[in-house]
């Protein structure tokens, strides 16, 4: 026998608020989110403007120091954080949605549909993300963070799809789906009204993971020079600092903040994911 489980919402919050992992993760993410939202209002500098002398270490005036071009690192940092959230939300969101659709249909219909979608999934996994970005890069004179996010999203869904598919498989065999089917519901409706709600928690966790994955993927792409050609991102900051010899010249304030923010933000996301897992899955809860 399990402890009685009422499906009340406040129960979720009740457990959520008592899960250290989730709470710490949320606090960190929230901290960065606030930082990203209000940060740009705390600086009077422009992104690329020469704000002061070159290569200044952090000081009261330049909180995070300045770059080789005399740009204010703090300013770039806060805008970069914004970009990270955009990539996470758009890229991670897109990957989750596409993965969900493909996974649902594959898992629900099985048979030929499943085989075909599986092949598609495999092909997409096989083709390096770089290749696609390459073409996109070549076609778009200007790549913004959004373009990058969309590409990442459209190329990261296979993992989500695989997971959702197997979940759907197992849910499908349960009674309530059979009953729904017997009542003559359309498969679309069954997916939306019966399967999806049962998977909401799972999907949300998938999204959290995809968010972190998208942010990291974007950082790598930015670093190797396939990132946005406009604006700034944390990955671009690292690329610039690297290209402009910040390592050799010891301009650590240029490359430490963006990487640290990425690691903390994404790490917090992963922590949240485990926390959510424990909240949604009572078996893992009491330890």
């Amino acid at each position: 026998m399990e402890p009685p489980q009422s499906k009340e919402k406040n129960e979720f919050f009740y457990f959520a608020l008592r899960n250290n992992k989730l709470v710490i993760g949320l606090i960190v993410v929230f901290f960065f989110l606030v930082f990203a939202i209000i940060g740009p209002f705390l600086t009077e500098h422009d992104l690329n403007e020469r704000a002061g002398p070159r290569n200044q270490p952090p000081s009261a005036e330049y909180w995070f120091g300045t770059t080789t071009f005399g740009q204010d690192v703090f300013t770039q940092f806060v805008y970069g954080l914004r970009a990270a959230f955009i990539v996470g939300l758009v890229g991670g969101g897109l990957a989750t949605i596409v993965g969900m659709m493909v996974g649902f249909f594959a898992g629900y219909h099985g048979g030929m549909v499943d085989e075909l979608l599986n092949m598609l999934t495999n092909t997409v996994i096989t083709i390096p993300k770089l290749a696609v970005l390459l073409v996109i890069a070549a076609y778009l004179t200007v790549r913004g963070v959004i373009h990058e996010s969309i590409v990442i999203g459209l190329w990261s869904w296979p993992w989500a799809a695989r997971a959702v598919r197997s979940q759907t498989f197992s849910l499908k065999s349960r009674n309530f789906i059979d009953m729904a089917r017997m009542t003559g519901m359309s498969s679309m409706k069954i997916i939306w009204t019966e399967i999806a709600p049962n998977m909401m928690s799972y999907l949300f966790m998938t999204f959290v993971l995809q968010f972190g994955g998208a942010v990291l993927a974007a950082a790598t792409l930015d670093f190797i020079g396939l990132g946005p050609t406009e604006g700034i991102s944390l990955g671009l900051m690292m690329q610039h600092s690297f290209n402009w010899s910040a390592i050799q010249l010891g301009i650590w304030w240029w490359f430490v903040p963006p990487g640290a923010a990425l690691a903390l933000l994404v790490g917090a996301m992963y922590l949240m994911n485990v926390g959510l897992d424990e909240v949604f899955n009572p078996k893992l809860r009491e330890r």
């Binding site: 495999n122 990291l216 790490g267």
Partner: protein
């Protein structure tokens, strides 16, 4: 069983065909002209440039219609001929790739395997220990979330520049030629260490977390509870859980090894390590169709092979998969 495998093989071939076709298409979608790009580096008179462009376009086989280029491409693949690199003209693509691959193997195979072993051990160890779960594990989450290049940069800066313990660029000292001497080996290892370590650490975090999550699920599985009910000691329960949690980790390992040929781009850039990752980036930047295709082809083959091996290995190690093959 036979039917199962022949169907699998068919699907793999189909996937391969699709992937290769896309691989062929992708560089051709790019605006610009690789020959033009190559010759833009030449200091030549403009009328001479026209003539040369004609010559090299033909030399690269870019003068025939697209469909024929496509057919030629397939034909060449089966002859193991991936064409000539534009960026490293006139080197053959296969040579270029084969020369870079050993560095990737030297860097990635140990880092993947060792981090996998250590990560799994640590993850299994940390699972279900409240103390570890709350202290060390958050650090592994952070590791897992650390961008490869950032850790690489941090290590290069601290260990390479500030303390000057390790060199931070190249695969061996510039004053040496590769040889089987001790001095060369030392030089190679010193150059190898930082990229290896940065890869190891991040991957360690990933594997450890994977293992921890997996084993926690396994420990809550019915068979674990049954064993506990029958008074089986913790060691046996954990052994079983560990073994079963290992299965997805094996999948992960195989997939990761399948990608080894893709190199570790960001890390290779930071440490100027001459692997495929860096090569690919150069190929992309120089619109080197043939090198891009070649690299991708290797990667595609690697990934497909890994997937196929997983399929086969799973049939052996996980009896559950056999069910689906014979029944229904």
């Amino acid at each position: 069983m036979k039917r199962y495998f022949s169907r699998k093989v068919f699907i793999y071939i189909l996937t391969f065909f699709l992937a290769v076709t896309i691989d062929w298409l992708v560089p051709r979608f790019m605006p610009g002209n690789p020959v033009q790009n190559m010759l833009s580096r030449a200091s030549i008179q403009s009328d001479a440039a026209e003539v040369m462009r004609g010559y090299y376009t033909k030399a690269f086989g870019l003068d025939v219609p697209l469909w024929q280029q496509y057919l030629n491409f397939w034909q060449a693949i089966f002859h193991g001929d991936l064409g000539v690199s534009v960026y490293m003209f006139p080197e053959k693509v296969t040579n270029v790739i084969f020369r870079a691959v050993p560095y990737d193997l030297a860097l990635l195979v140990p880092s993947v395997l060792l981090s996998w072993i250590a990560g799994n051990k640590f993850g299994a160890f940390a699972a279900r220990s409240r103390w570890l779960d709350n202290t060390i594990l958050p650090i592994t989450y952070l590791l897992r979330a650390t961008p490869y290049m950032w850790l690489a940069i941090l290590m290069a800066w601290s260990l390479g520049i500030v303390w000057g313990i390790f060199p931070i660029s190249g695969a061996y000292s510039f004053s040496m030629q590769p040889s089987f001497s001790f001095a060369f080996l030392v030089s190679f290892l010193r150059h190898w260490f930082l990229p290896f370590a940065s890869l190891f650490i991040v991957q360690f975090g990933g594997w450890a977390i994977g293992m921890r999550n997996m084993i926690i699920y396994e420990l809550e599985e019915d068979y674990s509870h049954y064993l506990e009910s029958l008074g089986a000691p913790r060691s046996l329960v954990r052994k079983y859980a560990f073994r079963n949690a290992m299965l997805p980790q094996i999948t992960g390992l195989a997939l990761r090894l399948g990608q080894v040929v893709a190199g570790a781009l960001a890390t290779e850039i930071v440490f100027s390590y001459p692997g495929i990752g860096y090569l690919l980036l150069q190929a992309i930047n120089n619109q080197d169709y043939f090198l891009i295709q070649g690299c991708f082809l290797f990667i595609v083959i690697g990934v497909l092979l890994a997937n196929f091996i997983i399929d086969v290995v799973y049939v052996i190690v996980d009896p559950r998969t056999r069910q689906g093959m014979e029944g229904t």
